[in-house]
């Protein structure tokens, strides 16, 4: 007779190893399927700027840069928003509306991305173009970042849309960590005569690792976002010259090109190659994130 303890631990082992196995399986299939393109082109596949199915010539550099630029815009705009939203709902908002704010923010985090994409294309892109990008280009166009005459769908729009998409996501992680800070710490801080602002600052320092974790999870989501970005990023396969240039991301490249990829000999391997590069970047960023979080935890 097996004890329930034993059964429980067997279940845990099975399910935990399943998710590990799936990740390893994904890596193996990415490598196996992208093998032909790396064999043919070598590393130049990553550093070339060309997507020419007619000549079966593929190099993903513009998509790689586009992924990094749009996620960088997204994360740098969304983190201040996410932290503010978390503090507002945990500390400042009246108790009666906290639940409401939190459920709205959680709803936003779970909306399907195609909805964000459509909204981004039909609503956000024209508004950004008219009220932000065009004025920035007109008055600050001498700065290289704003030098391209904007068209509504571009890397900047994609970055802003991504920021909107990931803010509720990282905000809820930060909010949970903030609310989990032991109450006596807060009381101790107030009893030392700290102002509300000083208390908040102290508590934020206390949850540094959660903020970092929220940022890295959000960054991962931004880099992997497919449908919404494909709708607003402009989808032109050239090296971006400014924030307002149209671009591509690896995920949107896959979304755009996969349906007819099988009509070519090397496009499927090239798309798998793109996926492998994206996976590797995600892995590196997450490892860096883990390292940072560990250091932060060790210091406090």
């Amino acid at each position: 007779m097996i004890s329930s303890e034993k059964i429980f631990s067997i279940f845990l082992i099975v399910f935990a190893s399943t998710s590990l196995l799936i990740v390893v399986g994904i890596v193996i299939s990415l490598v196996a399927n992208s093998y032909p393109i790396f064999m043919r082109d070598g590393p130049s596949f990553i550093f070339k700027s060309v997507w020419n199915p007619v000549k079966e010539d593929y190099g993903i550099l513009p998509a790689l840069l586009g992924t990094l630029i749009s996620s960088a815009i997204a994360i740098s705009i969304s983190m201040p928003l996410a932290i503010s939203l978390a503090i507002f709902s945990a500390e400042i908002a009246p108790k009666s509306i906290r639940g409401f704010i939190n459920s709205i923010s959680d709803l936003m985090a779970s909306l399907p991305s195609v909805i964000y994409g459509l909204w981004g294309l039909y609503v956000l892109a024209p508004i950004l173009n008219q009220y932000i990008m065009t004025p920035l280009h007109q008055y600050l166009g001498f700065i290289p970042l704003f030098s391209t005459k904007p068209i509504p769908t571009n890397l900047f729009t994609a970055g802003i849309l991504l920021a909107i998409m990931i803010t509720p996501f990282s905000s809820s992680i930060i909010r949970e960590a903030y609310s989990a800070v032991p109450y006596h710490l807060k009381e101790a801080a107030y009893s030392l005569g700290m102002t509300r602002w000083e208390v908040i600052r102290t508590l934020l320092g206390y949850i540094r690792s959660a903020i970092l974790a929220g940022a890295f999870l959000a960054l991962g989501r931004a880099m992997g976002e497919t449908v919404a970005v494909a709708m607003v990023v402009g989808n032109t396969f050239t090296l971006p010259r400014s924030l307002f240039d149209m671009g591509y991301t690896i995920s949107s490249l896959i979304a755009n090109q996969f349906p007819n990829a099988e009509a070519y000999s090397y496009m499927v391997p090239a798309l798998y190659g793109g996926a492998l590069v994206l996976f590797t970047i995600g892995l590196v960023i997450n490892l860096a994130g883990l390292y940072l979080i560990r250091r932060v935890v060790a210091r406090s």
Binding site: S17, L20, L21, I22, V24, G25, I26, I28, S29, A32, N33, V50, W51, N52, P53, V54, L121, Y122, A125, P126, T148, I151, P152, T153, A230, M231, G234, N235, T236, F237, T238, R241, D245, M246, Y248, S252, A255, N256, Q257, P259, N260, A261, E262, A263, Y264, V268
Partner: protein, 390 residues
């Protein structure tokens, strides 16, 4: 002992992971999906209908997204006509994917904007042969967004369109465009050239047209599901996903130009350009202009069991005829000649015979598609006779 167990565990993980990877890889996937076979039975009790005898069963097809609305309409009408005994499933997965899955033997038929490539055609020919024939006509329109120019007023030629997408004509008031439109007041604004970002049959046909009318387009760019757009390099090109994406981009960007399947131009309320046909007349894709183009092609079209890749779309765009609209395209159905199951053969014959006759009547044609002239439908009707069991 513990260390030993650890190695066993690692080896086990790698083996299982390799198995998972194998199931994920497309080439092996087929063997799994193939087990989902179709159950077909002869129903003897139900009364015979006009369209078919007493067959019943299911056939599965997939492919071109362009064909999807029309195919769904045909399938549901046929389902009704046969009293629910014959079910035609069609999944909209893209022409390329449809052809690939058909080649792997998962599908009973494929829908595709372009016909099979020559190598694949030859491969099938050795294995019993294929039948491919047009089932409907689609037209591609060039749309524009110039605030002070009405729909149906801007006149363009294929060469000018090619030069715009090559980035050689940059402004709307370029002498080449002005010469075609002396009566219009064209602005000195940069042309934003919108194109598809996803691989598509629409791009294949549109670029085939540009290759046919412009030698330098043919040499520099060529024709395919996706091409490298020279205008993108200048920063004046926009890629948009799907016909609806192109329509939205043209609508949002003043002074833009784009190409979409006709139905999307009407539903988005876009302005449609007149295009000069081979005989020098400026035409819109009216029913007559499309039918004229299709009739002009009858002489050059091959038989259903022949290779179509050398004809379509490279030879079928820009057809002769004073009224003909130049950028017309067929959508194809591809069948094997030999099937294992006699019921399947009978169902495919019945259904596509109906599609090519009754299915071409106005009440069965979805908006945005054009019916085949009887001469073109005859290609498919002849081809269906080749279907057999073996």
């Amino acid at each position: 002992m513990k260390a030993y167990a650890k190695y066993v565990a690692i080896i086990a993980i790698v083996i299982v992971a390799a198995l998972i990877a194998a199931f994920m890889s497309p080439s092996l996937q087929t063997s799994v999906e193939r087990t989902v076979t179709v159950t077909t039975t002869y129903a003897t009790t139900s009364p015979a209908t006009r369209a078919t005898s007493t067959l019943s069963g299911v056939v599965n097809g997939a492919g071109a997204t362009f064909l999807n609305p029309q195919m769904q309409a045909w399938a549901s009408k046929f389902y009704e006509l046969t009293g629910g005994r014959i079910q035609i499933n069609y999944q909209s997965i893209g022409s390329g994917a449809g052809q690939a899955k058909f080649r792997e033997g998962i599908l009973d038929f494929a829908g595709s904007d372009p016909p099979l490539k020559l190598e694949i055609y030859k491969e099938f020919k050795e294995k019993g042969g294929i039948v491919q024939f047009p089932v409907t006509i689609g037209t591609i329109v060039v749309v524009y967004n110039i605030p002070n120019v009405e729909s149906g007023k801007l006149k363009l030629t294929g060469e000018v369109i090619a030069q715009i997408y090559m980035g050689e004509i940059v402004y709307w008031d370029d002498p080449a465009i002005k010469a075609l439109n002396p009566e219009l007041n064209l602005p000195h604004e940069k042309i934003i050239a919108v194109h598809r970002s996803d691989g598509s049959g629409t791009t294949r046909v549109f670029t085939a047209y540009l290759s046919k009318v412009s030698e330098s387009w043919k040499n520099k760019v060529g024709s395919d599901f996706t091409v490298e757009w020279p205008v993108d390099k200048l920063g004046n090109g926009v890629g948009a996903k799907g016909n609806e994406g192109v329509a939205a981009a043209v609508k949002q960007n003043p002074y833009s130009i784009g190409y979409v399947e006709t139905a999307y131009a009407y539903s988005a309320g876009l302005k449609i350009a007149l295009i000069r046909n081979r005989d020098g007349n400026y035409v819109l894709p009216t029913k007559e202009a499309v039918a004229s183009a299709a009739r002009a092609l009858v002489k050059v079209l091959p038989r259903a069991d022949e290779d179509w890749s050398h004809i379509f779309p490279d030879e079928t765009v820009d057809p002769p005829g004073g009224e003909s609209y130049p950028i017309t395209s067929f959508s194809f159905v591809i069948l094997r000649q030999v099937y294992d199951d006699p019921v399947k053969v009978a169902i495919l014959k019945d259904f596509f015979k109906w599609v090519l006759t009754e299915g071409q009547k106005p009440e069965n044609i979805v908006e945005g598609y054009d019916p085949l002239p009887p001469e073109v439908a005859a290609i498919g009707l002849d081809g269906l006779k080749l279907l057999r069991t073996g």
